[in-house]
Symmetry: C2
Subunit: 231 residues, 2 copies
Amino acid sequence: MELKDIDCVCDNCEFRSIVLETLSEKEIDEFCRNKKEYSYRKGEVIHHVGEKITNFKYLKTGLVKVFRRTSSGDEQIVTITRPFEFVSNMNVFSGNNYRYSVSALEDSVVCNISPDYIKSLLMKNGAFSMMLLTRIAEVNEKIIEQTLDLRQKNLIGRIAYSLLYFSGEIYNSRIFDLPVSRKEIADYIGMSTANVIRTLSDFKKEGIIRVYGKTIEISDVEKLEILSKRG
Amino acid sequence: MELKDIDCVCDNCEFRSIVLETLSEKEIDEFCRNKKEYSYRKGEVIHHVGEKITNFKYLKTGLVKVFRRTSSGDEQIVTITRPFEFVSNMNVFSGNNYRYSVSALEDSVVCNISPDYIKSLLMKNGAFSMMLLTRIAEVNEKIIEQTLDLRQKNLIGRIAYSLLYFSGEIYNSRIFDLPVSRKEIADYIGMSTANVIRTLSDFKKEGIIRVYGKTIEISDVEKLEILSKRG
DNA sequence: CGCGGCTTTGATGTTCATCAAGTAAAGTGG
DNA sequence: CCACTTTACTTGATGAACATCAAAGCCGCG
């Protein structure tokens, strides 16, 4: 983790156009002075479950996984998400401790703001409140929906769904580098690593995807969509 | 569904002490005049997935299930929840349509408020915003956590978890009437009806619970807790 | 009564986890 | 840069967990 000591560059932050549009120029300036940017290398942990909440965080660039550990010790991935869709843990305002761990799947930049400062904005700026509430509700809804979608599918459907998720939601490309290991896919969809690999091999044999190590190319999107829906 | 045409009785509503405490006497009065209470009989649908959002709703008394239907037609229960923990669908502020169906598991009273009125409060009352944001985040977090908990368990663990949930969270009693059918438990935990029944029978045979039709008595809480954790 | 829906139980088959053993890839230290 | 170590990946074989199917019992309700 490395503190990026850049001066106020919120000007070219995408988050600004999403949330900060509710703030005045003066408030944005203030917001800027209250934030700290940190950059994380792929693999680094942003925070651990159970740690005391010190900051409201949002992902500026990169990709993160949100996860926790089960009693038996294996990882359970809550969501894999990209900028502006990870807006900290939502219990910043209700709890005292982070509910999940977060780590960087790709080099990432995270913007930190003190919860107290956010609270002061909430207290005085109605438009900001509306915006944040909407945003947090959306993030939550998305996680719940993904989980429900996955739950109703079998192994094949889950793998197909995940590949379409990376291709469509994360990278917007039919060909992409998987940001996660096979084991992490398993932790995400709740199946065993061996079966994830087996299913990817099957897809490869059937000509649905091509695999070059971490690089995946989806050759037959339609078929994958059918498998995802049916599964 | 029946409109309860009572005059302003927010005075003895528990929700008041939770959320409305952020409002002035005058605002509470206004809030009251902007709300409509409806009562639903056990089994009645409060709203269907996909319907246009007309109201921000919260459950005043009773018990509801939040659910949707999978492509293959079976029900998927998102959560079973009691007053003050169901505060409408959260996408009231972001979406146009209800994301899930909601129906009454017990006779219930639902309080309806126009989203526009809630929005106006959000815009002008910071404390109310904070409160609502916290509340909605909590509701969402709870759903996510329950889902993650269930996902990591096997059949036995899931049934044990559900029984403890009804006993501990919903009824606060070792003996209670199941508000749901066996099939609904199955829809909730994501397993087949036959296996839910089989497992309940096993628990009965092992003396962990007693079953009189819909009435369940937990005889051995400790054992159930062990099964829930281990499963 | 008698019909329909919910419940129960057993038998059978599918899906998936686990185990094991081997290969490839990616770090690590000299 | 190479040998060594570790970690990730792959595949097959086996068994456990769970779904599905079918038949029968129960219970409430018209």
